[in-house]
């Protein structure tokens, strides 16, 4: 494992879903810069693991060997040879967890082996499903094959929820997906990543984007994963303090005179009760974390 040994192993959260469902957009928002190419068509990259640090990026092949990589020339990468790319960033969120951006499923040009070999690294998953075509059989079938220990440690995000044009429509899609995925996710959250970044002037609109609820759920998930890894000892840095620049809200109506933005910190202070957690405790205990 290649995280900073001083901090110990951090939970790894994988971003998964159909290709073009918004995974890379989400990753870029989460770490506040754009290291990953975002396109309307499938991005054919191997899994990318993002950890805290300032090291140079490298890629890891199927035998575990490292080799250098040029992030500006990803096109020349031989995706069959590379198991994953490791990159570093000093974004706050990465102090609390690693992110693993997986290639999308259902891409005819990418074999499922590519992410299947990486899924063991994940402690939790953010599954992105395009809200207007949410939770299709191709997604449900992949999810059914993943270890069910992931289920209470994962969030289902209905991305681009703004494309559902009315409140009723959004609710109906949410209700259907919730029913179909009952017991399969910690929570199911509609979110409009585009609106979350654009609506920096209007708090009400920003809140509607689902960003606020998402951050709250994410923080709570990270806290849980950290607690599980460290054997429930409180971690040195509480996840509740973290800043996620991409998800910072506009000036709130209750903002103080310094014009502070609403941060996830404030958000996380309120007691979070996840929408739905399958069972009160995880069904199976994950093996004790191994230190790098």
């Amino acid at each position: 494992m290649t995280s900073n040994p001083a901090i110990g192993r951090k939970p790894c959260i994988a971003l998964m879903g159909e290709f073009s469902a918004g995974k890379s957009t989400l990753a870029n928002l989460l770490i506040g810069q754009d290291p990953l190419p975002v396109q309307i068509v499938a991005t054919q990259l191997p899994p990318v693991r993002i950890s805290y640090g300032r090291e140079e990026p490298f890629c890891v092949d199927h035998d575990g060997a490292h080799c250098p990589v040029d992030l500006h020339d990803l096109a020349s990468l031989d995706i069959d040879r590379v198991a994953y790319i490791q990159i570093y960033s000093t974004e706050d969120l990465l102090r609390h967890c690693d992110l693993l951006d997986m290639p999308g499923i259902s891409d005819p040009n990418i074999s499922s082996d590519v992410w299947e070999s990486m899924i063991d690294q994940a402690d939790g998953v953010l599954w992105c499903s395009h809200a207007t075509q949410a939770w299709r059989q191709s997604e449900a079938a992949v999810w059914a094959e993943l270890p069910d220990t992931l289920y209470p440690r994962s969030l289902l995000l209905l991305t681009r929820a703004d494309k559902l044009r009315s409140e009723t429509d959004r609710n109906r899609v949410l209700r259907r997906v919730e029913k179909e995925t009952d017991g399969l996710f910690r929570a199911c959250l509609p979110i409009s990543l585009l609106i979350a970044t654009q609506e920096q002037e209007n708090y009400a609109r920003w809140a509607e984007s689902g960003a606020e609820t998402f951050v709250r759920e994410l923080v709570s998930l990270i806290e849980q994963l950290n607690a599980e890894i460290s054997g429930s000892a409180p971690s040195s840095e509480k996840a509740g303090d973290l800043r996620i620049p991409g998800f910072e809200g506009p000036m709130s109506h209750s903002a103080n005179s310094q014009g502070n933005r609403i941060s996830a910190q404030e958000v996380a202070i309120q007691k979070v009760s996840p929408r739905r957690i399958a069972g009160s405790s995880p069904r199976t205990q994950r093996p004790p974390p191994t230190m790098a």
Binding site: E18, A141, E145, R165
Partner: protein, 689 residues
């Protein structure tokens, strides 16, 4: 529907907005139909000049042409917008129910026709029978397999479980009706959104205030196998069938199964994709499933481009990516790819440009800068919106394929048959032989000819006359038989009556049984007279042709006069006359009671009935039948006289000029008709080339 004026399309001034849009977009089809005019003309000619058999055949071909109904099937993943697209294609934005949750559950065929359909607007919903339900399972998992979907190997058992669950559910909901409905159908003389909703969409599978479930919506959807809706759409110049299917890749995999079955019957398919996900493995599987079969065509419609942040840039990227994937996986790289938005098409038809969401409008403006517009509108922004929706391009692509496929095939087939029919008529006319005549001289003396003709005339007259006499005799026999059996039945009945009721009670007996027997005997007689006439006429023509041949040494078939139609058989009115037996009233009663003894009564009545009904019999044979015989005979004599006189006239002088012969055999009319036929034959060349 709001009526708008479209100065560009004069003939469509009375059209509603949607009709005008469809009309403007279906020029290719209209052009094709116009080019078929010569074929129609040829058929009209055959109907006009042909014999009865030829007429019937030509009329059948004409109907065949009129009934051409090319079809197109929309398929794609759930919620790609198939139903919305179908609604736009048929010009009825709100007809089929579209929704944000998986919705369409039944293959729905819309049959459009430019004329008022006959039978009129209607809807037929067919239900599964038990067998078909099980068949839904068989062949399951095809898409899953082709798309390499996770868990594809277990899909079959999942589908089976879903079918079982659906069966249990609908049984519980429909109760006793369930069994009775299976294998049957519901038909309506109308349809609307609510009616369709009852049959083609399952509705939400969860409860709560937002849920779109109700007692009627989807009430029959799970047992409905197919829906066929017939309606008029004047915007298109031909009959069209547009088919909507349930989405594939739904977790409720039965939808997918239903759709796969529908693909089998569809030659032309539109695979509807969502712009936000270009060609996933499911889409690829679908496309390959369709295009693997020869002579199947696929058009790709990338829907929802209104949801792109910049269609200008992204459409190009999507297209490249689709092509790349098709190439990499041996897909049909020549498949037509069209970009558009069913939502824009819907807004265009509804005239609701201004009600569009901001993002959609921004995308529209962005797309407008680069989109290729065929028919730039002058004054109506909705027309531009229609252009940008991709629907005109889609209709054009579909038209091209329909014409090159189904339509050309039928036209080719009909043309070949029509040409054969033309050739048949020409061979029968044998014009080439007939036009080759020179002046010709008599090969036997005129007196001999006259004598031959006279013998011939007498012989045929006599022949028919005696044939008709025989017919009269057999009619008389038959009629008498009927009469006698009637009399004995009547007297039996009288005896029984007297036995049971005594002589005081009035007896009646209905003579209609006799009338029916007589009428049918007369009908048979009439038919035989007509047949005898035709037989004699044909024989006489043969003999006349023989004289003609011997006299002028010209081929027999040059002599082919048309024989007159035998006289119609008038209904035997004499049977209608009133006889004593018909009078149940006072006359009969008093007559009855005046008779005294049992003996006397029986004898008297036999005589009375015999006398009364006897008049029916004699009138029928002696008046009606004799008159018909005379008619037939006279018509035949006239015909013989006319033909013998013609021949006698032609052979008056020792040498007969070519002109005279030509005139005699009506060569001009024949030549005219041959010219018309040859011309028709020639013009049809283009449809078979």
């Amino acid at each position: 529907m709001n009526v708008v004026k479209h100065p560009m399309h004069k003939e469509s001034e009375a059209f509603g907005r949607s009709e005008a849009f469809l009309h403007a977009s279906s020029g290719l089809l209209r052009g094709y139909i116009e080019r078929l005019e010569p074929l129609h003309e040829a058929l009209r000619l055959l109907i006009d000049i042909g014999e009865a058999q030829t007429k019937r055949t030509a009329a059948r071909y004409a109907l065949q042409l009129e009934r051409i109904e090319p079809s197109v099937t929309m398929i794609g993943q759930i919620k790609s917008g198939k139903t919305t697209l179908v609604n736009a294609l048929i010009g009825q934005p709100d007809l089929l129910p579209a929704d944000v949750n998986p919705w369409t559950s039944v293959v729905t065929s819309l049959h459009l026709s430019p004329k008022e359909p006959s039978p009129a607007t209607s809807a037929v919903f067919r239900f599964f029978d038990l067998d078909e339900w099980d068949k839904l399972v068989s062949g399951g998992g095809r898409i899953g397999e082709l798309a390499d979907r996770a868990g594809a190997d277990e899909e079959l058992s999942k589908i089976r479980a879903q079918v079982e669950m659906m069966r249990t559910k609908s049984k519980a909901r429909l109760g006793r009706k369930f069994e009775a409905l299976l294998g049957t159908q519901h038909s309506y003389g109308y349809f609307d959104h609510e009616l369709i909703e009852r049959y083609v969409c399952l509705g939400d599978d969860f409860d709560g205030e937002d849920a779109k479930t109700s007692r009627t919506r989807g009430r029959f959807a799970d047992i409905t196998k197919s829906a066929d809706l017939r309606m008029q759409q004047r915007g298109y110049p031909i009959n069209l069938c547009v088919r909507d299917t349930p989405g594939v890749n739904d977790t409720f995999m039965i939808r997918e199964q239903i759709t796969i079955k529908a693909i089998r019957d569809s030659r032309l398919c539109v695979v509807v994709l969502s712009a936000h996900q270009a060609l996933s493995s499911t889409d690829l599987a679908l496309i390959r499933l369709i295009s693997n079969v020869k002579s199947r065509e696929v058009v790709i419609f990338v829907n929802r481009i209104d949801e792109l942040s910049s269609p200008q840039i992204q459409v190009r990227q999507i297209e490249e990516s689709i092509l790349k994937t098709l190439r990499a996986h041996n897909g049909p790289i020549d498949a037509k790819i069209i970009f558009g938005s069913a939502l824009w098409a819907q807004s265009a038809i509804q005239g609701s440009l201004l009600a569009m969401p901001d993002a959609s409008r921004d995308a529209l403006l962005d797309w407008a800068e680069v989109a290729r517009i065929v028919d730039a509108p002058t004054d109506d922004p909705h027309q531009l919106l229609w252009e940008l929706s991709g629907l005109p391009a889609l209709i054009q692509a579909l038209s091209e394929r329909m014409i090159a496929g189904e339509m050309n095939e039928t036209v080719r087939q009909t043309t070949i048959s029509t040409r054969n029919l033309i050739n048949g008529v020409k061979v029968a006319d044998n014009l080439s032989a007939r036009t080759n005549i020179d002046s010709t001289s008599l090969h036997m003396p005129h007196e001999q000819i006259l004598e031959d003709l006279e013998t011939l005339r007498k012989r045929h007259s006599k022949q028919l006359s005696s044939a008709l006499d025989d017919l009269i005799i057999s009619l008389r026999q038959r009629v008498e038989q009927s009469h006698n059996s009637f009399l004995s039945r009547a007297t039996d009945a009288l005896a029984k009556h007297l036995e049971i009721y005594g002589e005081k009670s009035v007896w009646t007996y209905d003579p209609s049984g006799l009338r029916v027997l007589l009428a049918s005997a007369y009908k048979v007689f009439g038919g035989r007279c007509q047949a005898a006439f035709k037989r004699s006429a044909a024989e006489a023509v043969e003999d006349l042709a023989d004289v003609f041949h011997r006299a002028l040494n010209l081929p027999h078939e040059f002599f082919s006069p048309s024989t007159p139609i035998p006289p119609r058989i008038a209904p035997p009115v004499t049977l209608g006359q009133t006889i004593a037996l018909d009078l149940h009233g006072s006359w009969w009663k008093s007559w009855w009671t005046r008779r005294q003894s049992y003996e006397a009564q029986a004898r008297n009545f036999y005589d009375l009935i015999r006398a009364e009904t006897g008049s029916l019999v004699t009138d029928l044979v002696d008046d009606q039948a004799a008159a018909l015989k005379m008619d037939v005979f006279e018509l035949f004599e006239d015909f013989l006289d006319e033909q013998t006189a013609n021949l006698a006239g032609l052979t008056k002088s020792r040498a007969v000029s070519a002109d005279d012969v030509s005139r005699f055999i009506g060569i001009e009319a024949l030549q005219e008709r041959d010219r018309a036929l040859s011309e028709a034959f020639q013009t049809l060349e283009r449809y078979v080339a």
